[in-house]
């Protein structure tokens, strides 16, 4: 029955880990940011970067509308910092425009104008 004990303790360990990692603090804030993203690869790139930043609970990009939804903890990261971060990755975030050098670091298909614009 040692296996059972192992199993139970592992599950408990994970649950405690889980609850610690999602501890409640200041009320999280949700924002929608208009970006200059282009395609599915931008989604992977942007979400892949943001989801590992401290203070960000999740980020989700709506590709057709270029709208990024971010839920974050304002005591860990501010909205301005968040937008600067997105610009640093290479995308415009509302009024914060990305620098040319950062845009050039993006894969070619993720740069503005890479895909045909309709409107």
């Amino acid at each position: 029955m040692t296996i059972n004990t192992y199993l139970l303790s592992a599950v408990f360990l994970f649950i405690t880990f889980l609850s610690f990692s999602q501890q409640k603090s200041v009320k999280a804030q949700k924002v929608v940011i208009k970006t200059s993203t282009q395609c599915g690869m931008c989604k992977e790139k942007l979400e892949g970067e943001l989801n590992y930043i401290k203070g960000i609970i999740y980020s989700e990009l709506d590709v057709p509308n270029q709208k990024l939804t971010v839920k974050f903890k304002p005591n860990k990261i501010s909205l301005v910092e968040l937008k600067n971060l997105i610009a640093k990755i290479g995308y415009d975030a509302d009024e914060v425009k990305a620098k040319e050098e950062d845009v050039l670091k993006l894969p070619k298909c993720c740069r503005p104008g890479a895909h045909f614009k309709l409107d």
Binding site: I3, C39, G40, M41, Y52, I57, P107, H115
Partner: protein, 731 residues
């Protein structure tokens, strides 16, 4: 036929949902060459809906209700184009060519694919498992990859050797053709233990086709085809490190790396080492639950991509050494040992030549294999040697337009298999063959007519016709039909080697003749929206009828295993239903149910194959958190009761036929992603359900009633594992 009503109801439901759909192919023209373009953006201007093309340049798009509308095609590096679609264009096929805007840059996009899906465009019903699905059951080799898949079952063959074998439609794994990138693989002597040689970290995706499949890659796909696409130097990660350990003392190490060698050459190395170092006997029968030992497997491949030709070649080497059975060294009596030693070399190459005309190409596939197997089941020794050579030449072209594609070619198989037990079976086979396949595609209907002719040096000629059809009943509903013939020459001893783990005498047939089967079936895929998210239901039915089958009859006499050639006296019916829904965001549930009616004349009457549950099903729950860093997976599976043959108990009394109880097996896994690496923790058989006394008369293994081949349930109890995966993506 109660199923008939069900089907009728389905048809009624589907036909009322009619609306328009276009599909097509987008190619790019640059440097005087046409190539299919992937990730081309297709947008419907007024309706503001869109899609992207697949890797092969194809797309499907559901048109809006309000027509006409304009479709715009755009891809980086190409001048955008647009066309107007009208009501009359519903269900049409489009062929679009985009011209380079002189920049001549390639469109480089990595695709995020759905992890488990039915490939929509294929005429054949092909289920695909991508690497993200394979990560759901991260232990250990490809036999575990099918844990969350309903079409393929994986079973322990006996209670002592630890060997696992796949089953499709309730038929033994030897009736399923396994191929590695379209090269028939793990055949012959490897059919018993071969799955262990390919770890999950090597696999990019797996395609499962039920039924006979296409004619191009051989004649042996009687129940189905499982194609393994291994990671390719062009697409795989730059570096991967994976370590794994479980509570039963199994540890594994995997390292993959890929290298750029100039513009046209790429190379990759994949290495795998595994071992079981702890002796476990939780059911206290004196026999190891899992054999101890080590496995080494190594794969090296090279890719060349030029303008006019492509080449791939490589080698797969592996060696293993396992030891199971009784392990208590303190006893004076001789121990019943179950040992196995394997050495294998596979060399393969593929070359492809392109022509000026699009869709025309010529491919050569070569494979050479050397295999050595030594195995011991107590007092019985088996040794086998195999040499196999394989050549396949495939020519692709189309007549007039892309709608009429042809595929033709020739193959040659050389196989020299020696099997030594108490008898020695040695067979040298030369099988030249030729095949032809015609594919017609249109907007609402596709069909493939194929046939192959093979000449076997010992058994003469065999003609195998196969046909597949796909009807798009609506843009949400696909109906596929398939029928065909397949055959194989059985390797009697290795195909049944696990039956050596008892004291029964084998009774051999007078001669060995090819096994021939006909398979026919259909599948319906219905996609719909539930909870505002994509859902689907799949129902399929396949019937396999054997013209001749070599069966092992365990019912005739409990002292004997009688091998015989059954003519027109065995069949399999397999019905499967699967429902995939997503009740809330990033939470997917898949329900699967399967009915297997696999019968043959055993002991002079039609009976269900032993140890094969008639009903089984599973539910797979998969949840990913919104930041995609946690992944949870839970799969409870229920196995119905199976028929068990009569046997002799320890006192030599006959115990009558019975049925096994039905049981539940629970597997689960949790993955947490850090930016540079993933950690996963999983449990197998979490409820710790084990077959009680899997070995009959375990105290007396050299006696006349010993039997370790009555396994219907798990031998290994609850098991937990922990693993880490470090991946460096390609720059």
């Amino acid at each position: 036929m109660k199923y008939r009503h069900l089907i009728l109801i389905f048809f009624l439901c589907f036909t009322c949902t009619f609306s328009a759909q276009v599909r097509g192919l987008i190619q790019g023209y640059s440097k005087n060459k046409m190539t299919p373009l992937e990730q081309v953006k297709i947008k419907c201007v007024n309706a503001r809906i869109g899609t992207y093309t697949n890797e092969d340049g194809t797309f499907e798009l559901i048109l809006p209700k309000i027509l006409p509308d304009t479709l715009v095609f755009s891809a980086y590096g190409y001048t955008s184009d647009s066309i107007v679609v009208n009501k009359s264009d519903r269900f049409v096929s489009l062929s679009i060519v985009l011209y380079s805007d002189q920049l001549l840059e390639e469109v480089l996009i990595e695709l995020k694919k759905q992890s488990h899906s039915i490939l929509k465009l294929k005429t054949l019903h092909v289920e695909e498992l991508t690497s993200s699905e394979l990560k759901k059951a991260a232990c250990c080799n490809i036999s575990e990859s099918f844990e969350t898949n309903a079409s393929v079952d994986v079973n322990m063959t006996d209670a002592v050797s630890g060997a696992k074998k796949i089953q499709m439609m309730g038929l033994d794994g030897v009736y399923t053709q396994i191929q590695m990138e379209n090269i028939p693989y793990l055949r012959g002597l490897q059919s018993a233990f071969g799955l262990h040689s390919i770890p999950g970290t090597w696999v990019e995706s797996i395609q499962i086709t039920k039924g006979t499949g296409n004619v191009v890659n051989g004649y042996e796909s009687m129940a189905g085809l499982v194609n393994l696409e291994l990671k390719k130097p062009y697409e795989m990660e730059r570096f991967l490190f994976n370590a794994y350990g479980n509570a039963y003392g199994r540890s594994e190490l995997n390292i993959n790396s890929s290298h750029n060698l100039g513009e046209k050459w790429k190379m990759s190395l994949m290495a795998h080492a595994a071992g079981v170092f702890i002796e476990n006997d939780y059911n206290d029968d004196g026999f190891l639950d899992m054999p101890t030992g080590t496995d080494f497997s190594f794969f090296n491949r090279w890719d060349y991509r030029g303008k006019k030709m492509e080449a791939k070649f490589g080698a797969h080497l592996y060696a293993d050494n396992h030891s199971g059975g009784q392990f208590n060294e303190a006893t004076i009596l001789p121990l019943y040992k179950v040992d196995k030693t394997t050495k294998n070399i596979d060399l393969f190459a593929k070359t492809g030549f392109f022509f000026k005309k699009v869709n025309r190409s010529l491919g050569f596939v070569y494979n050479y294999k050397l295999h050595q197997l030594q195995s011991q089941f107590g007092p019985r020794d088996f040794s086998g040697n195999e040499k196999r050579g394989y050549l396949n030449v495939i020519y692709d072209d189309c007549i007039g337009s892309k709608d009429h594609a042809i595929r033709t070619g020739a193959s040659f198989v050389y196989s020299d298999i020696t099997q030594n037990l108490d008898i020695s079976l040695s067979m040298t086979q030369y099988v030249p063959g030729a095949f032809f396949e015609y594919t017609f595609s249109s907007a609402r209907m596709n069909f493939i007519l194929g046939s192959r002719y093979d000449y076997h040096n010992l058994y003469g000629s065999q003609f195998s016709p196969r046909t597949h059809m796909k009807f798009i009943l609506s843009e949400y509903t696909d109906l596929r039909l398939t029928a065909g013939k397949a055959w194989r020459v059985p390797n009697m001893i290795i195909d049944n080697i696990s039956l050596l783990a008892n004291s029964k005498t084998w009774v051999y047939p007078e001669n060995i003749i090819p096994e021939i089967s006909w398979n026919a079936g259909f599948s319906i895929v219905q996609r719909f929206n539930l909870f505002k998210r994509k859902s689907s239901i799949t129902i399929d039915y396949y019937h396999t009828k054997f013209e001749n089958q070599l069966i092992a009859d365990r019912d005739e006499n409990p002292d004997l295993i009688v091998f015989k050639n059954l003519s027109n006296s065995s069949y399999s019916n397999a019905i499967q239903a699967e429902l995939a829904i997503s009740p809330f965001k990033s939470f997917d549930i898949r329900f699967a149910y399967k009915l297997l009616d696999v019968q043959a004349i055993y002991n002079e009457q039609f009976q269900q194959q032993v140890m094969l549950p008639k009903h089984r099903g599973f539910v797979n729950f998969a949840y990913t958190t919104r930041n995609k860093r946690w992944e949870f997976d839970l799969t409870p599976a229920v196995f119905g009761s199976a028929r068990l043959p009569e046997y002799l108990d320890a006192n030599g009394e006959i115990v009558a036929q019975s049925t096994s109880p039905s049981y539940l097996r629970l597997n689960g896994q949790i993955t947490y992603k850090f930016k540079q690496f993933d950690v996963y923790l999983g449990g197998e058989n979490i409820t710790n359900y084990r077959q009680a006394n899997p070995i009959i008369d375990a105290q007396n293994p050299f006696g006349s009633t010993f039997d370790a081949t009555r396994t219907w349930g798990p031998i290994v109890g609850a098991n937990i594992y922990l693993g880490i995966r470090i991946e460096l993506e390609k720059k």
